[in-house]
């Protein structure tokens, strides 16, 4: 018997891991990357991994990028798996992004917005020419000195100006449409306002509850915030090309640091636990109104960890598209279908299920083989029976061929 069943899976797995580690390190004569280098010089990669990994920790994200050989989806997966081991001790108080220490802030709908426009570090107006000087090392790039600017001063929200005129619908958590705020912050629904107000309703937690449809906006936004950037970008793009059109304007984009605080009940006062960098986008979208609601603007909201404008903008467009059912709009595009968007946005889930096809499936394939063979024999049996004369003709002709060959 020449055949021996495949054994030794454990040794093969160990060797594969060792080989991966060696390949990842590359040429030993080239200095090894430090986490500090990744954190500093690959900051946008670190940001993306933190956002999709759903864990704000630049050091661990840098480690994940190093460990994943630069594969950012794999790095986000590493962070998520690590996140599983962490207990949830507290929920933070809502962020107050109007108190953000602003690094960049722009509005596309007003030339002058109170608080000013500030470009900050952006690729937007850079000619995308390969910079060959950068190929050489030991470059120094001094940052320009801008005029002193008080980061402690609050920057009013652009959308707020439209709200004062009643031209924009206040953000809401689904069909209730009640998002009004009070000083105590106890009225309203679980929706993002960025105002640091706690709403009366406990928000959904997609990391502790299974997402069920139909969803509310709090669950949707959490899903989008850690959704795959590429997926959200394409979904957002599809709305602009007519699959669920809703005429977006970039009301405001701001990037900067905000304070995260918790309120431990046993202490009875708030404690600031971290400053984190976030990107916040408020889109202003056209809405023609319906019988109950006069024509006005609506909002799409995007928030990501770190500086990640493309993702935050895409998120805001998709958030707005997903409000279609609450606004009574017709559902014409995939971006408006919450089951389509929310169940396919997570790249940790998607990469796993797509790649699991690599696992052995020979039991199912055997079952399928047996079935196909059965169906084939049924087919051949059925097709050969009624035309007996035809068959005998064929047999004769093949016999003739054989005789001649």
């Amino acid at each position: 018997m020449p055949y021996v069943a495949v054994k030794g899976g454990e040794q093969a797995i160990r060797n594969a891991e060792a080989l991966l580690k060696a390949k990842r390190r590359g040429d030993a004569d080239v200095p090894e990357l430090s986490l500090e280098q990744i954190k500093q010089q690959m900051q946008l990669a670190v940001n993306r991994v933190m956002a999709e990994g759903s864990l704000y920790d630049p050091d661990l994200a840098a480690l994940a990028i190093k460990q994943s050989w630069g594969d950012l989806v794999e790095a986000a997966f590493l962070l998520r798996a690590y996140r599983t081991t962490l207990p949830r001790l507290y929920y933070s108080e809502p962020l107050d992004t109007s108190e953000m220490a602003i690094q960049r802030r722009i509005s596309a709908i007003f030339k002058e917005a109170p608080g000013g426009q500030k470009l900050g570090p952006t690729f937007d107006y850079i000619h995308r020419l390969l910079d060959f000087k950068l190929a050489a090392e030991d470059n120094t790039f001094p940052a320009p000195i801008s005029e002193e600017y008080d980061t402690a001063e609050a920057t009013p929200r652009v959308a707020h100006m439209l709200e004062q005129e009643g031209l924009v619908m206040p953000p809401s958590n689904g069909a209730q449409g009640n998002g009004s705020q009070t000083e105590s912050g106890m009225v309203g629904t679980a929706h993002p306002t960025g105002d640091g107000q706690r709403s009366g309703v406990e928000p959904f937690d997609i990391t502790r509850q299974s997402l069920n449809t139909p969803t509310n906006r709090d669950a949707r936004l959490q899903n989008l915030a850690r959704g795959d950037e590429g997926f959200l970008l394409s979904m957002a793009y599809s709305t602009q090309r007519g699959y669920g059109k809703n005429h977006p304007f970039a009301g405001e984009i701001r990037v900067g640091e905000v304070e995260v605080s918790i309120f431990p009940e046993e202490l009875g006062f708030e404690i600031a636990i971290a400053d984190i960098t976030v990107t916040e986008v408020q889109m202003v979208n056209q809405f023609k109104g319906n019988k109950e609601i006069p024509p006005q603007f609506t909002q799409g909201y995007g928030l990501t960890f770190g500086y990640n404008e493309r993702k935050a903008m895409a998120m805001a467009l998709v958030d707005r598209a997903l409000q279609a059912k609450d606004l009574g709009e017709s559902l014409d595009g995939p971006a408006q279908d919450e089951e389509f968007v929310l169940y396919h946005s997570d790249n940790i889930e998607a990469q796993g299920f797509v790649q699991h096809l690599k696992l052995p499936h020979y039991i199912d394939f055997q079952a399928e083989l047996n079935l196909i063979r059965k169906l084939r024999s049924d087919y051949e049996h059925n097709n050969s029976q009624p035309e007996a004369s035809e068959k005998s003709k064929k047999e004769r002709s093949t016999a003739a061929k054989e005789a001649t060959s």
Binding site: M1, P2, Y3, A5, V6, K7, G8, G9, E10, A12, I13, F77, R80, A81, R83, T84, T85, P87, T207, R208, Q209, S210, L211, N212, T213, P214, E339, Y343, I348, E349, Q351, G352, F353, V354, Q355, H356, L359, P360, H361, Y362, I363, D364, Q366, A367, E368, L369, N370, L371, K374, L375, D378
Partner: protein, 302 residues
């Protein structure tokens, strides 16, 4: 699920030392409790899918994370674990999951179906009948049996609630009109306890009858889809069929090349590029035990 191992003395591998730095079975106790609650609900409503807050595990979704989380939530220090994939203990994914539980639990493991108190599987049910007291955990890629008829979960949930399973029967009927037989080879839908339509996970239809009135507790974990369901011991599980087209399982024209079994699920092994094939048991433990018995009795005779 702690019970003393009934196996013959010293035959399961001795428990390894768990690696420090992890909670027992990786998940924290609160998460395990949440998963156990979902399992209990599942047991109370056989075949009904219970949503649970699935966690990211250190293996990829699609690699059995649902089954792994169920196993991690029910495993105890005294358990003896068996892990199979495609019926075999030595396939890479089975090896890897067993390695994981050795690392984070330090429990004893075995390849023998009868020695295990807890068995995690992908795509097969062992040939040797399960016993009362055993827990059998399935890895489930797609818990929703209606997904290829109704992709929307909102709608599918309504169909389950209303027991509206007509479209599934229509699909099976269409198969019969088109092909003369039901063309589902695996993932073959079952009715559990006469109430819930259930996806048995991609086991071949050959294994479906083993689920019926099984003395073991059968648990199903779908990690990516975040669903858990269960078949309590001695529950009726019926594969869908029609009176004039009764459910049947496949059989092979060949016995197993190694052990001669004619009652087991066989794997077709391609042995050359000339169309050469051989058929061997997919359940490696079953096949090895039979081979051992045969050589034992041969020695006795000789």
């Amino acid at each position: 699920m702690t019970s003393s191992s009934p196996g013959s003395p010293g035959s399961p591998a001795p428990p390894p030392i768990p690696e420090p730095g992890f909670n027992f079975a990786y998940l924290d106790e609160q998460t395990k409790r949440a998963i156990r609650r979902a399992i209990l609900k599942g047991v109370a409503i056989p075949g009904h899918q219970i949503p649970f807050s699935s966690r990211e595990m250190p293996m990829s979704y699609g690699w059995g994370t649902g089954g792994i989380q169920v196993t991690a939530s029910v495993i105890g220090q005294d358990d003896t674990l068996k892990v199979i994939d495609q019926g075999a203990d030595d396939t890479t994914n089975a090896v890897n999951i067993r390695r994981f539980f050795k690392k984070v639990c330090g429990v004893a493991t075995t390849e023998k179906t009868e020695e295990a108190t807890l068995i995690q599987t992908r795509h097969r049910i062992p040939e040797k009948p399960l016993k009362a007291g055993q827990v059998f955990v399935y890895q489930v890629p797609m818990p929703e049996p209606l997904y290829f008829i109704e992709p929307s979960r909102t709608e599918a949930n309504k169909m389950h609630a209303l027991e509206e399973y007509g479209p599934m029967y229509v699909k099976l009927y269409e198969d019969i009109t088109k092909f003369g037989r039901i063309s589902l080879a695996y993932d073959y839908p079952v009715m559990v306890n006469g109430r819930h339509l259930m996806n048995p996970s991609p086991i071949p239809r050959f294994d479906n009858p083993k689920m019926d009135m099984n003395p073991a507790l059968q648990l199903f974990g779908a990690g990516r889809e975040k669903r858990i369901y269960a078949i309590p011991p001695y529950t009726q599980v019926k594969s869908l069929d029609f009176e004039d087209h009764p459910f049947s399982v496949e059989n092979w024209e060949h016995p197993c090349e190694f052990c001669g079994a004619t009652d087991s699920y066989l794997d077709e092994v391609v042995i050359d590029d000339q169309g050469g094939r051989m058929w061997i048991c997919s359940d490696t433990d079953y096949c090895e035990q039979r081979q051992r018995e045969q050589s034992g009795s041969a020695q006795k005779l000789g």
